[in-house]
Symmetry: C2
Subunit: 242 residues, 2 copies
């Protein structure tokens, strides 16, 4: 089954209130780091896998992309994306990224923000991305960090008074399904190791350019819970080229 928590109305409602949903890219704690890894979009054919509300699609378009295709499995997300993108030629397609077919070499940039941890099999997907990319094409993505996904619950470990003690890691090498609590809802995610994320790219001939565990920016540190984000890595950003 392809994971799609975003068409669960309760989950979608909660997600739509997160600062990254309300404020867009500027409301996402990792954006200031992800932005640095993005290539020059000018004249490029861009594909966004798991595009959600389409924030990155619109950014690519504003930065001069020639064409932009956003793909997502959630009809609710795409509805919002289409509304917000009215007046642009950005195309949105409802499709699981695992099922997407595109002509060989038809894309210059593939981006994906916090979506691959919903995908069970990473290697076949990377192989197809490599096939879609033109020679020299760029591949930039963010995922939940393996430290964050390993244990499963994605929650801190607390003392009896409810104070955070630390973040737990377990079953690190046991890749696969995790039942995570996200916005109070049970969400199925897939844990994989850092080795799998990076070596899958390297083994398929990608050149790695950056590997970044983003820290929240200074001006966000006073938001609720944000200082705790200095205590364990939550995301992993990777840029590579074919």
């Amino acid at each position: 089954m392809k994971e799609n928590p975003y068409d669960n109305p309760v989950f979608f409602q909660k997600y739509s209130q997160m600062s990254r949903s309300v404020q867009g890219l500027e409301g996402a704690g990792e954006w200031h780091e992800l932005q640095k890894l993005l290539p020059d979009f000018h004249g490029k054919r861009v594909l966004d896998l798991g595009c959600g509300y389409g924030w990155h699609c619109r950014y690519a378009w504003e930065q001069g992309a020639d064409s932009v295709l956003g793909v997502d499995l959630s009809e609710r997300m795409l509805q919002v994306a289409r509304e917000k993108s009215a007046g642009t030629p950005i195309q949105y397609r409802r499709c699981a990224m695992e099922d997407l077919t595109l002509p060989q070499g038809s894309v210059d940039v593939v981006i994906s923000s916090l979506a691959f941890h919903y995908v069970r099999d990473f290697a076949p997907l990377v192989e197809r991305i490599r096939n879609w990319l033109a020679p020299g094409g760029a591949f930039v993505f963010s995922v939940e960090h393996p430290v964050f996904t390993a244990y499963g619950s994605q929650d801190w470990y607390y003392d009896q008074e409810g104070n955070i003690l630390h973040f737990p890691v377990d079953n690190y090498y046991d890749e696969g399904v995790r039942d995570a609590l996200f916005l109070g809802e049970h969400v199925t995610k897939y844990h994989r190791t850092l080795t799998t994320y990076l070596n899958t790219l390297l083994n398929q001939g990608f050149t790695l350019h950056h590997v970044v565990e983003p820290q929240p920016p200074e001006h966000m540190l006073d938001l609720p819970g944000m200082r705790n984000e200095m205590r364990r890595p939550m995301m992993l950003l990777v840029s590579a080229s074919k």
Copy 2:
């Protein structure tokens, strides 16, 4: 101060009884993975930073290296290394790797096994390694994994009956000194993030080839405590070239 726990007699005595000290490379749980990342040594000038007993130096020599220099700060370690290397032209030099000077482009392969987490400043060291390496030269190293070094104690988190609950991660982005308990002795190590390990190389123009979090080999899983090594990553192996 340059860290050198190995000249503490009590620590050295305990270290000398570890399976990696008694059996050498075959007694090290990560060797089967590190070995795959090593380049062809034939005719190469090899430098081993933090060479300890000189196992990797001798391996390089046996694999056809043209010259091998092992550098370590511990006189006790080097004494053993010299004894074990009798009859070979392997050279050993007592020196902190941070203080080592070598001519530009005078080395084809730099290896380092589990030593960089004793070094406070990684970037200047990598810059000098890059300078020592001839064009196309190989750089392969292992370090303790950032997940393993972040919290500090390097121990599991237990319940009241002494059962392992999980491995704790904390202060991940707070790089620097950690007071670790290793073989029952307090040892100063330096935690740094994965971002720092990898991007330092990438920013200085190295090409990454492999990033591996080694799992213990099947035949070692019945050794005491080894099955727990599947629960969290303890080491990080990296291969790169200039």
